[in-house]
Amino acid sequence: MQRNSNQSVTVEKETPLEVDPGYLTVTDLNPVDEESYNENLEAHLQSLARDGVQALYASLFTLPTRPSPDGPLAQLPPPKTQLPRAKPLPKPKPQTKWEAFAAAKGIQHKVRDRREWDEEKQDWVNRWGRNGKNKQIEEQWITEVPLNADADYDPRKVARDARKERVAKNEKKHAQNVTRAAAAANPRDARKTDIEKTLATTRISTASMGKFDKKLDGEKKIRGVKRKFDPTEKSVSDEAKASVALLSRLESDAKKTRREPQAEESVLNTRKAVRFASKGRGGLALGREAAGGRSSRGGRGRGGKR
């Protein structure tokens, strides 16, 4: 009997074995057979283990595989057994201002290549860093100067200043993101603003909107949002820019400008009307008929039937 169980590839037990391929684990929930346990312990344990391992291998060898240099890799499913973690889950990183904006606008993250194609050199060059493309004007030996340039105009210095400015701006934005993240992470501040908001709401939640309430000592006046207006007089260029921005917004972003709901739609069900008018033959047939009717005055088509 021992020999038989050793020979088989399939394992059949009263309670089917619980296999967890994710953790390479098999659990045999059948009660231990007391007789064989007492008879020969080592043989009993080995045959138990063999049956379990056979079942585990059966499930492992049916998993989908992926080729690799060291032979085929079996793709393991996620484990069924839940084991406690060793460390808490990582906290999500706070979003930068740009990331929040990109998420709101649906802008996809694009990985920019580190290298850039140089047409003159006919080669790939670094975008930044050593011999970077962003330092091309500073490093090339001759540079064009605009006609109306001052006598002391230095194109290299201008390009360098512009580059340094971009770097400084990026650093400034980074610092702002860091402080913003730190402020958001501070639970004390968050709670404080929360309480202040609740208090402000309760203070105007009486019948008189807080006008006849008892004032406490040291109670401050509620401050609303200060409205900001554009100055009445603006430079022409600013005004032009503002109107162009408005126009482009109207044109480009279809989602932002609210569409007028079709008033007709609610009153008249066009589809139903067409179906009724065409006696179920559809709009095309109706159109054909109408055209035919009009042309019948000219003495052509089947419009004369009516």
């Binding site: 953790y23 390479l24 659990t27 009660p31 057979d33 080995q46 079996a74 393991l76 084991l83």
Partner: protein, 349 residues
């Protein structure tokens, strides 16, 4: 309260990043600690278990006055300190006393705190060296085998299973090289005594931690380690044969400390499933939905089976005069009542 450390150079930053919490965790590192006195047996047992656990194992050479179950000592804080220093989350403490000879204590940590503990006594032992059989390669993942219904029913054995799985096999991997699986750790129990089968299961083991438990009634645990040999069977699934590799341990359960429910709840938190994983079919089941190669979500709708008998085909004069045909059909078929509605209509007419 830990102060937040800011890395001063790239190397320390990398080291800190390696230690920071991750969504999919690395294998747990285990520290093997000797108590005030460990006999020859315990030293050998710990050496063999360490050979199985390598390379995620650290051994402490010196003896340490440590008693994890004695809350009066500073043992717990030492464990927590060592865990932080070595980035380890498992301990195996060996200690032999007159009252509890050859005791091994498994300690599991979560977030730098002790989650749960379990003490076992080594009753008998056969080392890896005493068996002249092939051994597994260090660092290869073992298979695990548990055999007894107690691993599903009894809280002590559930804890044991979870602890041993975490100890040897807790790492989540997405793929594995099948020829690399060389050995199996088999954990089985002695037959369950009748008293344990009929005893009411204590649903709230945390309620009375001080209540003394009758440990002697708990069946013994046999840990065996085998190397596997795959033989061709004519099918895709090979036939497995086992060879004893060692170490072989016969253990009995002793003291334990169950995990604090609140801490355990935190430790059991899973990361949120990503959108791609859900689309792949993990988590909640999504039937009849698929993402095509253009990235569009496409659904399949079941419209029921079409009854072709009710299909209105083109009416033609030639087909209409089927009175004779219909009669012939009726004549051929027996009166078992499987008439289509169309035929019925014709009969009525």
């Amino acid at each position: 309260m830990l102060r937040t450390i800011k890395p001063k150079n790239a190397r320390s930053k990398r080291a800190m990043d390696a230690r920071s919490p991750k969504e999919v965790e690395d294998a747990r590192t285990a520290i093997f600690v000797k108590g005030t006195h460990t006999g020859e047996t315990l030293n050998a047992v710990m050496r063999d278990l360490m050979a199985l656990k390598r390379p995620n194992a650290i051994s402490f050479n010196k003896k340490n006055p440590i008693h994890p179950f004695d809350s009066n000592t500073s043992s717990i804080s030492s464990l927590e300190f060592w865990a932080g220093k070595n980035d380890a989350s498992l301990f195996l403490v060996g200690q032999t006393t007159k009252k509890r000879p050859n005791g091994l204590t498994f300690v599991r940590m979560y977030d730098g705190q002790v989650l749960d503990m379990m003490e076992v006594g080594v009753d008998s032992w056969t080392g890896m060296d005493s068996l002249k059989t092939p051994k597994s390669t260090p660092g290869h993942k073992p298979l695990m085998h548990f055999a007894s219904e107690l691993f599903d029913t009894h809280p002590r054995y559930i804890q044991l299973k979870s602890m041993l799985m975490d100890f040897f096999n807790g790492e989540v991997v997405d793929s594995i090289c099948l020829p690399g699986l060389e050995h199996v750790i088999s954990v089985s129990c002695a037959p369950t005594p009748a008293s344990l089968n009929n005893a009411p299961v204590n649903m709230y083991p945390n309620q009375q931690p001080s209540a003394p438990e009758d440990v002697s009634s708990l069946p013994k645990i046999h840990i065996r380690t085998y190397t596997t040999r795959l033989l061709s069977s004519g099918t895709r699934i090979p036939r497995v044969e086992l060879t004893l590799m060692g170490p072989n341990l016969d253990l009995s359960l002793r003291r334990h400390k169950a995990a604090d429910t609140e801490l355990l709840k935190q430790a059991m938190k899973r990361p949120k499933l990503k959108k791609t994983d859900i689309e792949k079919g993990l988590g909640k089941k999504r039937k009849n939905l698929e993402v095509d190669e253009m990235g569009d979500l496409r659904g399949r709708v079941h419209v029921g089976k079409q009854d072709l008998n009710k299909l209105q085909t083109r009416k033609m004069k030639g087909l209409k005069g089927g009175e004779l045909d219909a009669e012939e059909d009726d004549g051929q078929k027996s009166d078992d009542g499987d008439d289509t509605p169309r035929k019925k209509k014709r009969k009525q007419a």
